[in-house]
């Protein structure tokens, strides 16, 4: 391994409106090494990759490529210098063939005419090298499985003959055999002097393939150049999480042991993303689901709600089993969902606040199908005042409200129905710190009034602070179920990433 820095980054800062995504990142990558980036969701890994590959311009700091200060204005410029990235969200064009995708943006051509047969031949070579000779270069990429699309994405990165390859969680959609092949390729590349920046939440992988580790937290480098094989797991997790508590969580009210079971889920499976999920929530209890993005936690919630059809298992509210795959049945039984994507799944953005609140309880305001909208406005006004939705005014269009106030509108919808079970998916995403603690108060208040609450969040701290009981989900299975005060953040992260082996 040579010690010359191929890429070095100093004092990198990237601002987005209202957010400081990166606030001082330093690290360097040597030719021929695998440099791992670690950090929790939101630590700034994805932003960093986008800056390095030219998709974003940094606001401050410098990037040196082979010792010279560079500025990649766009991904093509980065590509020409020899930096290629494989993004987490696949960046392929469905409808084009595999070969067309591999050479998209750097097509092989002579005098403007594409050299199609050569593109096909070279694509086939790359796919063979990646251990997937069965993928035809002529297939439509949109018809491939996600794992195969990932392979094509890699072939695309390799076709650039880059000096630095950035891989953002490449193993997330691969099975163990494919990961082995991937590692073989990475070793082959590094032996030829190519540097790899490797991102994964799986510590085991980092130990197997990584040379050095850089840890990011809240957009800052907290440690860099750690030896990947020797550094202790506890040290890594401490570096990733060691922050001061930012949010104040309301005190827990002990759950009455005699409280009835309100929600009971048995052996729930959807046939692909998760299976064998058991979950019971008592009246007045807040249960948190922790897990990585893609672990199946949101799918579990949506299946309980009937928004996705289950393949096996039952969901019962107050002892009555619900019809499978029917949101209507779930809502009638007293369930409510605040979905993950508030804007696209939760709200009628161009309609008035009161219409968003009463949309699930219209029949309560209607006589023979005719709506009494003054009653609707009056009830909505009571609720928005109680929740302190600002600015006030039930005729306001929801689009103009801030994230926290929009979330309160969705909550008000289910408060109005006096629901028995409330499912919250990422309740504080895009919500500022002030509104955040108000939402926590509200959730606790609801539980105290006997509602059964399930909270899903990427933020482990939030799950632990808010919930009475915590379930940890990994790869579609519940791997832990216990009281929230008997487990800490690093243990949860441990379970989330490595399972019991750590």
């Amino acid at each position: 391994m040579t010690s010359s820095a191929l890429l070095s980054v100093q004092g990198l800062v990237k601002r987005f409106p209202g957010v400081l995504a990166l606030q001082g990142v330093d690290f360097d990558v040597r030719a021929g090494e695998v440099h791992c980036l670690l950090g929790q969701n939101g630590a700034g890994k994805s932003t960093l990759i986008k800056v390095l590959s030219g998709a974003h311009r940094p606001d401050e700091g410098e990037i040196r490529w082979r010792g010279e200060v560079v500025s990649f204005g766009n991904p093509t410029a980065a590509m020409r210098s020899g930096v290629a990235a494989i993004y987490q969200e696949l960046d392929l064009v469905a409808g084009l063939s595999v070969a067309d995708n591999v050479f998209l943006g750097h097509e092989l051509s002579t005098a403007g005419f594409t050299r199609r047969s050569e593109a096909r031949r070279r694509t086939r070579e790359l796919l063979v090298r990646l251990g997937h000779p069965e993928i035809s270069p002529d297939r439509d990429v949109g018809r491939l499985s996600v794992a195969h699309q990932q392979i094509v994405s890699m072939a695309r990165a390799l076709s650039l003959d880059g000096q630095l390859l950035i891989m953002d969680e490449p193993s997330a959609v691969l099975d163990p055999d494919e990961v082995r092949v991937l590692f073989g390729i990475i070793r082959d590349l590094t032996a030829h002097g190519v540097a790899v920046v490797y991102i994964s939440h799986r510590l085991a992988e980092i130990r197997e393939i990584g040379d050095r580790v850089t840890v990011l937290k809240d957009g800052r480098t907290v440690a860099t150049g750690l030896p990947a094989r020797e550094v202790k797991t506890s040290e890594l997790i401490g570096l990733m999480t060691g922050r001061v508590l930012e949010n104040v969580y309301p005190d827990r009210t002990p759950v009455d042991p005699a409280a009835p079971e309100v929600l009971s889920v048995r052996g729930l499976a959807d046939g692909s993303r998760f299976e064998g999920v058991d979950l019971t929530v008592h009246a007045g209890e807040v249960v948190g689901l922790a897990g990585l993005v893609g672990s199946g936690r949101s799918e579990i919630l949506e299946t309980i709600y009937g928004a996705r059809k289950s393949a096996a298992g039952t969901v019962a509210v107050d002892g009555r089993t619900l019809r499978r795959g029917s949101v209507g049945a779930a809502v009638r039984a007293g369930m409510g969902l605040c979905p993950e994507e508030r804007k696209s799944q939760g709200l009628l953005l161009d309609q008035a606040v009161f219409r968003n609140i009463t949309v699930s309880s219209m029949s309560a305001f209607a006589r023979f199908g005719f709506l009494d909208d003054s009653a609707e406005r009056a009830r909505s006004r009571e609720l928005t005042e109680a929740l302190d939705v600002r600015p006030a005014g039930v005729d306001r269009v929801v689009r103009g409200l801030s994230g926290g106030n929009q979330q309160k509108v969705v909550l008000a919808r289910w408060l109005l129905r006096e629901c028995r079970v409330l499912l919250l998916d990422e309740p504080t995403r895009g919500v500022d710190v002030g509104a955040r603690s108000e939402i926590y108060e509200l959730v606790r208040d609801l539980a105290d009034r006997g509602v059964a609450v399930v909270v899903v969040s990427s933020d482990v701290e939030e799950v632990l602070g808010l919930a009475d009981r915590v379930l940890v989900v990994r790869e579609g299975r519940v791997v832990h179920d216990g009281p929230a005060d008997e487990i800490d953040e690093s243990r949860v992260l441990d379970l989330v990433m490595e399972g019991h082996a750590a």
Binding site: Q345, L347, F370, R396
Partner: protein
């Protein structure tokens, strides 16, 4: 509207107004004003260029009788578009309903029993076509544009088969007598259009059905997760439009005293154009019956003024196209302003 004055504490800035008073009218009031101004200008143009031939009671009634048929279809179309859909098959459904309601067999039964049989036949055929469209779109997951394009071809073809491409003359005395009559000097066809428009307005703005239509068109996924049966509602929307087409077929039979597979030609374009210039968003979630009525009146008056001035159908088409472009550009400008 009274509840707004009842709460003096709620000082709403202009943003909020959009959804209080105006939502009751079905659209931002400003835009309806614009439509009224456009209609008045058109009428002035008619008076200036055609004088008494335009400003004549009979001519105004002619305009209204022409507007009535396409107007009924347009009211139905407003629901489908507000609900996030589109229906290209309305003209063909009108043709098929008109043919089916005027076959020798149907007319025979009508003569033996009651002329209302013809009305029910047309409504049944129209409603069934709408039901098929809705089921294909909601449960068959065919894109609305394609599903109704297929219906367009199939329904008109079926109408040609049934009628053998011959115009079917109506000879049911009671039917003609009823629809040719006037109530207080207003032709029955115009009365029907008025009833449909008022009924449509109430349905869209005052009922749970209407509210669900806005929700389904505004954000189908959010509507589904809020507990609304989006698929069933979609089927109901297309069925409602089918029924409107059946009713329009009855009115067209009355006006022309014939049923024909060529009836309703290009109604889909006229109806969609009227709905869009009225202010209903093609992307769904916002719709206005009052705007649609104005849209229909504007187009019909335009045709009338052009005809009175001996301008060709082709010139009318060019003018129509220009109006649509201007209206859509204005609409986008307004949408951007209220969305910000």
């Amino acid at each position: 509207m009274s509840e707004d004055t009842a709460v003096p504490a709620q000082k709403s800035p202009p943003v909020a107004k959009e959804s209080s008073v105006s939502a009751l009218l079905g659209s931002p009031a400003g835009r309806n004003t614009g439509l009224v101004v456009a209609l008045i200008l058109l009428c002035l143009g008619g008076v200036i260029t055609a004088g008494d031939r335009f400003a004549d009671v009979d001519n105004v009634l002619t305009i209204l009788r022409l507007a009535a048929v396409i107007g009924v279809v347009s009211v139905g179309m407003t629901f489908v578009i507000t609900g996030g859909g589109i229906d290209l098959s309305v003209g063909a459904i009108v043709a098929l309903s008109s043919v089916w309601a005027t076959t020798l067999a149907t007319q025979g039964i009508a003569n033996d029993s009651h002329w209302i049989v013809m009305v029910f036949t047309a409504l049944l055929v129209g409603g069934a076509c709408g039901l098929v469209n809705g089921a294909l779109i909601a449960y068959g997951r065919v894109v609305a544009f394609i599903a109704t394009l297929a219906s367009l071809a199939a329904a008109r073809g079926l109408a040609e088969i049934i009628s053998n491409r011959k115009t079917q003359i109506v000879n049911v005395p009671g039917f003609a007598a009823f629809f040719d009559a006037s109530i207080l000097g207003i032709p029955v066809l115009v009365v029907i259009f008025a009833l449909v428009a008022v009924g449509g307005w109430v349905l869209l703005n005052r009922t749970t059905f209407g509210r669900r239509t806005f929700a389904v068109g505004g954000n189908p996924e959010a509507a589904r997760l809020a507990g609304i049966d989006v698929k069933r509602h979609t089927v109901m929307l297309y069925t409602l439009l089918g029924l409107c087409c059946g009713l329009a077929a009855v009115m067209l039979i009355a006006r022309t005293t014939t049923g024909s597979s060529t009836h309703g030609g290009l109604y889909e374009l006229d109806a969609i154009a009227a709905v869009v210039i009225g202010g209903t968003l093609l992307s769904g979630g916002r719709g206005t019956i009052a705007g649609t009525v104005f849209g229909v009146l504007i187009f019909t008056t335009l045709s009338n003024v052009f005809t009175l001035n001996n301008l060709s159908i082709s010139a009318q088409a060019v003018a129509k196209g220009a109006i649509i472009v201007v209206a859509v550009l204005l609409q986008q400008r307004l949408a951007r302003r209220s969305g910000a």
